[in-house]
């Protein structure tokens, strides 16, 4: 096998990995702060992709331009969902924590099905199919943008958490919920902000992915599952873990798709997922949350 092909495979894998990382950052943020696994995460992504699609249909504005607007829409949507549903699940029995968002996912997926039908929709803009070429290696333009965005968003989130007051409130809450409360931090507000922010991040992801993938009501299922794999592999709640996990899963998927069988590439990452849960449930970089996987 020649080296160009191998480099091409690695680069494609890293680009898909960037996409996975981009989707996973919001999920890991929400888990890290609130200890909530949002089983409807993929459906949030799907809503964002549809939002970007419809804005493009009506205004003709590129999804790259409208990404901030989609993020804002998802921010508001996330805040509403927090008030209506998520708020009641914090600290509730496990059945509530799991099945409230499972139900939410069902609702969102089928609202999309009823409103927009099950048709595949694609965005046909010049940049959607653009490919950069150098030295015989092809790089998909939308995937490159998504990957770069993933890194930038992770950096921005780091800066936000490290240097701003709300960021400090989030860190304090993560370290010790009760102590933070005693220091006058409104936990409810921190959670509201975290959930809305996590939703906004998946909003950006949706807008950036809209040109690269077909859009349909159950598009979120596979992306959602992939982001669970990424977040568990990287370590629940770890930003760097989400980046690293995303890139690794992208590589695993692409290489196993090529060397084993394209139909089995998902199976390979599910096997990786199970093995991580079994042998290193804290993931590569995660430490917190270990008590919930029985390690204490």
């Amino acid at each position: 096998m020649d080296s160009t092909l191998f480099i091409q495979l690695v680069i494609s894998g890293l680009l898909i990995g960037g996409v996975y990382a981009l989707i996973s950052i919001g999920l890991t943020l929400i888990f890290g702060v609130m200890r909530i696994v949002n089983f409807a995460h993929g459906e949030f992504l799907m809503f964002a992709m549809f939002a970007a699609y419809w804005i493009l249909e009506f205004t003709g504005l590129s999804t790259y331009v409208t990404a901030p607007l989609v993020a804002l829409l998802l921010f508001v949507f996330g805040a509403v969902i927090y008030v209506l549903i998520i708020k009641r699940t914090v600290g509730s029995p496990m059945v509530v924590q799991i099945f409230a968002t499972v139900g939410l996912g069902l609702i969102m997926q089928n609202v999309a099905l009823v409103l927009w039908s099950g048709d595949f929709r694609t965005i046909r803009t010049p940049e959607a199919s653009a490919v950069l070429k150098f030295a015989g290696i092809q790089v998909s333009y939308p995937l490159l943008i998504a990957s770069v965005a993933a890194i930038m968003i992770a950096l921005a989130l780091f800066a936000f958490v490290a240097w701003t007051y709300p960021g400090k409130a989030i860190r304090a809450t993560v370290q010790d919920r009760t102590a933070a409360q005693l220091m006058g931090i409104d936990i409810n507000k921190v959670y509201l902000m975290t959930f809305a922010l996590g939703s906004a991040l998946v909003g950006i992801a949706g807008a950036l992915l809209a040109p690269a993938y077909p859009i349909f009501p159950s598009v979120g299922t596979n992306f959602g599952l992939a982001s669970f794999v990424v977040v568990v592999l990287g370590g629940m709640g770890s930003m760097t873990g989400a980046l690293l996990g995303g890139l690794l899963i992208g590589l695993v998927e692409t290489l196993s798709g090529f060397f084993i069988d394209a139909a089995l590439k998902q199976a390979v990452y599910f096997v990786v997922f199970i093995m991580v849960l079994v042998f290193r449930p804290t993931g590569l970089l995660g430490q917190r949350g270990a008590e919930e996987v029985g390690l204490k």
């Binding site: 099945f99 609702i107 089928n110 099905l113 568990v232 599910f270 199970i274 919930e292 390690l295």
Partner: protein
Amino acid sequence: MKDQVRETTASQAGSARAKNRAGALLRGNWGWIALAALIIVPIVVDHPYYREILALIFLWSAMAGAWNIVGGYAGKFSLGHAAFFGVGAYTSGLLYVRLGVTPWLGMIAGMALAVLLALFIGIVTLRLKGKFFALCTIAFGQLIEIMAIYLRSTTGGSEGLLIPFKPGFWTLTFSSKLVWVYIFCALMLLVYFISRWLERSALGYQLSALREDEDAAEALGVNTLRAKLVSISLSAALTAMGGSLFGQYFLWLEPGFVTSLDLSTQFALFAIIGGMGTAIGPILGATLITPLQIFLRAALGTAASGISMLVYGVLLVVVVLFMPKGISVEVGGWIRKLSSRSNSASVAREGSHVA
């Protein structure tokens, strides 16, 4: 005065005893009345459409009840039970279609395979709790679905596996819907009585101990590993049994349905809405929701197939947030409250009489 009081207490005790006896008689007979209804109703309902609804109610009740054995009693929320359902359906279906083995044997083989898979999952997920267990079972469910699609030459891939229609006892294929209604009804009763037995057995108490606090149960000498493995195996075997029967009823297996995440979610959803950790809850859940889905589909056509799942989702969220113990426990609580109020009211009335 004293005599009068003694007399009233005696008569009160007498009337209470009579009431108890009547209650016991009624309670003892409730089961028989229900059983008679289960036998008679399918005969009376002489219409293929309504018999289909009955068959599905019984099947989904049984599957929700099987999920409940591990989800409700042991508190391990699986989102991968379609894996067991699919293993059961494909094992008997493939043995029958490819090798001509009678589905009765195939069903047993499917149950055995499902138990092996369950033991593997149980051992692998030993340390996982709550959402992590749920995530891991999703992964197993997805793996089974991917394999069912991938092994195209054997399973027929995503187009599915057609099972030939040759009515007969050994082919486990019947042209009469009534037979199927009774088969699924028997499956439901099997799951129900296993659940009732479980509630009173040592295993049942061990499961509820480990559901409430796994470490404490372990400290008290409960063999939590054994309890977990037995419950998940039992649940898997019953689910696989349902899968085999489902395949013989519909004569078509499609990975997108029999091994799907949506199906896994449905099993859990019926049990949770009806009431987890009770024998009757899953039956109630499936009985309430299955007809709803069918009627909605009939009323709105396939174009609005999303509506029924949408209603499922709304029900699930509402029940989980506002009555997390499920409808059966909630409604049971109301009834008990009402009857105790009327009881105390009557006692109070009698008391005032004495004064």
